[in-house]
Symmetry: C2
Subunit: 302 residues, 2 copies
């Protein structure tokens, strides 16, 4: 079985090309692939399956036409996930590198619908992330300290909190305490700080994953919180915003894993940044069959 390993701002993925949908991608195999010591190591797996007959109406109309490839995205624990902003950018890089799509703009089918992907002239890969939904003000407690922020949905829930202190002053290794009524399923938690004109930095604690080097939906949520805050010249998010589209604009978002660009457009948003293939190859047959894990325990050592 062939594979590639790649990353987008240090969100890393194993890509499995499977044009004819032949691979039985079990949760166990995903978890073994993503194991950082006994496997290849990754935040998730991106299986590339050719869309059999790209039916009209299989997704929103995009300029690249109907999607030729479906991104079967799995989390590192083997669970199925709908979409991943950094993942689809790395997926796009792989398709382009192998001339499996015609660039610079093409559609990719995901469980969250068809998404437009574009190769920029400078090497960045951009993905249409859809319109962020502003849910209103929210509050969380981190290490006993309260944080006011903006609840934003990008399909998944976020609480993005604009702060004035240097981000290194905060410890996002522990999960924040969220309002269970506002976030019954939890949320990703972003700390956001202005560091220039339309330029923010961010730290994230991802629901279920802890602090991560990057988070695509989190970067968009952070830009939304920054845009809403900047629009009213406030220091923190005003409590009155709700269900209005965020002010349009382009934002640079610095994360521990690198730099992303977020564009807030009137009807959607775009996430842009580096997407890198590190290596490609073939999985070992014996490893795949699981026969290499442990030799006979009773064997003499020498």
């Amino acid at each position: 079985m062939r594979f590639a390993k790649g990353h987008g701002t240090e969100n890393d993925f194993v890509i499995l090309p499977d044009p004819d949908d032949e691979v039985d991608l079990t949760g166990d195999l995903v978890a073994r692939l993503c194991d950082r010591r006994a496997g290849l190591g990754a935040d998730g797996v991106l299986r590339a399956v050719r869309v059999a007959s790209p039916a009209p109406g299989s997704g929103p109309a995009v300029s690249g036409g109907a999607a030729e490839w479906f991104m079967d995205y799995r989390n590192a624990d083997g669970s199925v996930a709908e979409m991943c902003g950094n993942g689809i950018r790395v997926f796009g890089r792989y398709l382009l590198d192998h001339e499996l799509v015609r660039g610079p703009e093409f559609a990719v089918a995901t469980r969250a619908g068809t998404r437009l992907v574009r190769a920029e002239l400078d090497g960045a890969i951009t993905v249409d992330m859809g319109l962020p939904r502003v849910l209103g003000a929210g509050r969380a407690t981190l290490a006993g300290r309260p944080f006011d922020g903006l609840a934003v949905s990008l399909g998944n829930p976020h609480l993005a909190c604009v702060v004035r202190d240097p981000l290194d002053d905060f410890d996002v290794s522990q999960p924040p305490v969220l309002d269970a009524e506002q976030f019954p399923d939890g949320a990703n938690f972003e700390l956001v700080r202005f560091i220039g004109a339309a330029h923010i930095e961010m730290r994230v604690h991802e629901r279920g994953s802890g602090p991560t080097r990057s988070c695509g939906t989190g970067a968009v949520a952070a830009a939304v919180a920054a845009a809403v805050t900047a629009a009213v010249a406030a220091v923190t998010v005003p409590a009155t915003v709700r269900d209005a589209p965020p002010p349009p604009g382009r934002w640079t978002v610095d994360l521990p894993g690198g730099r992303l660009q977020v564009t807030l457009a009137p009807r959607t948003s775009f996430l842009s940044g580096p997407a890198v293939i590190v290596a490609e190859g073939e999985l070992d047959e014996a490893w795949l069959s699981g026969k290499t894990v442990t030799p006979d325990q009773s064997s003499p050592a020498a």
Copy 2:
């Protein structure tokens, strides 16, 4: 540039076949390869270089004859290291898989001298680790609690402490406080517990690396401490042993990353266990050249 990724009890390595010694393996490239998000991810790199003319006397006489391959081992931070017990076992697996050596027994040249490697019938790979040197009793403090143990050298220094409580009761995430006079350069710290006849479990805090899933020299040091303790039917290491070879015997050592077998022989020791190749392939040219790291920061997002 071709590579393989493999592991031995979850000590993992990137193997770079370089028979003609052509690769300029800089510390920067090693660190990039071992980066667990932006690279392939590993505890270290094993470069396989063919020994140009295996001169007689280039190492201890071994039944496999003079070494045909040199293991250029590097730590994840890019620094040069002499030897690695799990690393050389994975290195041996790679050479055998590719028929680059004639098995089942062969010699590998390392910076610590030539080492004998053997493929066992059950799939385990065994390496001659040399004679452990018993340095005498020692004491360390972990989380404010004192531990008595045995100082052992396998080339690198260890303090192996036999304990009675379940190992999960101890937190080895923080470094122990060692006697600076006894260990001027620090030491690996092992907690060891008897769980059966000639069967121990162990946790390790590696000097410079923190708690790890496995440590080959640590497993041998743990077996030595257990053997010395068992020989005098004591619960902890007697304070009187020093500079005597450890009592011979075979020990099973359970670690977080798997199971190793240690044989203490009169004049040497052997480390045996699983050694697994996960995948092989080719590094991406653009990644290798370092040109993929960041697109132009000033680029428009969309």
